[in-house]
Amino acid sequence: MIRTRALARSFRSGKHTVEAVRGVDLDVAEGELVALLGPNGAGKTTLLRMLTTLLPPTAGAATVAGYDVRTDAARVRARIGVVGQGHGLGESQRARDELLTQARLYGVGRREARARADELLEMLELTGVADRGTPSLSGGQKRRLDIALGLVHRPRMLFLDEPSTGLDPQSRANLWGHVARLRAEHGTTVLVTTHYLDEADGHAERAVVVDHGTVIADGTPDALKGQVPGDRVTLDDVFLNLTGRSLREGE
């Protein structure tokens, strides 16, 4: 579903060049649920924005859903769902209306768009707030609506950038439950980023840890934890072991 080779992106700001992603090789098979883990600034968002055609790479290559992100961006876009890091909701829009517009932009017919919106509102427990303005939704509801927006066209691949940031533990667990269900019921391939390393535990079967723009570990959460001696090892310990830095230091 995803294949990148030496994918890189740097940003120039004045005299400085920030190498946000440096040479990432990543393969994700159809149907996988992969968690992309790393501290703030690791390059997760930049990597996702390249894979979702929002940002051209400065070097390397990537294909998503069988198409090159550079030369076949429109075909990639039609086949993936994208949930960005911020809330992608219009301030003066109602929840259902945003879903309808989004469906139309993906080329879904009018009648089907309405059915699809209702279905997603139901699935993500948003039916009760469907006709409310988006600013009045809770954090968890907004995030679930973001996810619904990414699913209107039944994409086979979904990208989620920090979907759980800012949510309370209960909403967070609820959100992961939805993602897991999506995958179990529809076989959707999911790539989800988070800077809460331990979130991947128990939810994702594969964790890819990035730091300073490169992949520093890739495997099942259990295999990664097996590399660190001791019991009750967490993914935070794995990160500490790999980098000599604790993720908690900066917080």
Binding site: L55, H87, G90, E98, Q102, Y106, D146, L149
Partner: protein, 266 residues
């Protein structure tokens, strides 16, 4: 039809190709919805021009030229241009929070063409401005303003072209600045001289030579002249020049706007 679409969707959602017209309509629809739900906002958006109409236009009565003899007939065509400047020129303010929140990027990630995403917004801004213009005309007709139908239609069409130019350029500036605190002063710096040098408020004939020359370099001034000529029933060079200026600007701004949108977010 729905069976075929559904089948195609489950096999390969990418097989359904969006059309430019549908994309423009979808975005227009989205942008229009809040105003349809709350029509009063249409009137709030025209507060500034209405204040000029009520509190400034009557001052003209004391002046000697055509503006003094028939203040409504002289002032209202220019007021319509002012309306285009405020409603369409400030359109970028609506995009800024969507750039900040990620809603804009969410739409950039869809297969809809980026030019369509821009045009849908511009169409709504122009539509709003036309509704406001008609409201102004309805307001001044009982006061003795003369608006013969063919001239009015042509005048509003010219206004729509100008509005599309202003809205597009406003989005270009919003996409370039991205932050409200940069966008707002940039816009103010451009809009105020454009308005003062357009001859909307007072005839530029009153200006000293250098100021008059400056005003001739302002495209808005030519559209104001064309609108005044039209509503006075004078079909002549003023009308032709106004249209040519507006159409040339339309092409240039759309090329620039499309390029800016395609560059996307970075």
């Amino acid at each position: 039809m729905s069976a075929a679409t559904t089948e195609r969707n489950t096999q390969d959602p990418g097989a359904v190709r969006p059309s430019a017209v549908r994309d423009v309509l979808a975005v227009w629809n989205r942008q229009a919805r809040p105003l349809v739900r709350n029509p009063l906002a249409v009137v709030f958006g025209m507060a500034q021009p209405l204040l000029y109409l009520a509190l400034f236009a009557p001052l003209l009565t004391g002046l000697g030229g055509p503006e003094g003899q028939d203040p409504w007939q002289w002032f209202v065509p220019g007021l319509l241009v002012m309306l285009a400047l405020f409603t369409c020129g400030f359109a970028g303010f609506g995009l800024l929070p969507e750039i900040a929140s990620g809603a804009h990027e969410r739409m950039l990630a869809t297969p809809a063409s980026r030019t369509s995403l821009l045009l849908g917004r511009v169409v709504q801004d122009v539509a709003l401005m036309l509704v406001q213009s008609v409201l102004v005309l309805l307001l001044v007709l009982p006061l003795g303003f003369r608006a013969p139908l063919p001239e009015t239609v042509l005048g509003l069409a010219l206004l729509a072209v100008l509005g599309a130019v202003l809205a597009t350029l406003s989005y270009v500036v919003a996409l370039a600045t991205r932050q409200t605190y940069v966008f707002a002063p940039v816009l103010q710096t451009v809009v105020m001289p454009l308005m003062l040098l357009s001859g909307v408020l007072l005839p530029m004939d009153l200006a000293p030579g250098w100021l008059y020359t400056l005003s001739r370099l302002n495209p808005l001034a030519h559209v104001v002249d064309a609108e005044r000529a039209l509503f006075a029933g004078q079909w002549g060079t003023d009308v032709a020049v106004g249209w040519v200026v507006a159409l040339v600007l339309l092409v240039l701004s759309l090329v620039l706007g499309a390029r800016m949108m395609r560059r996307g977010a970075s």
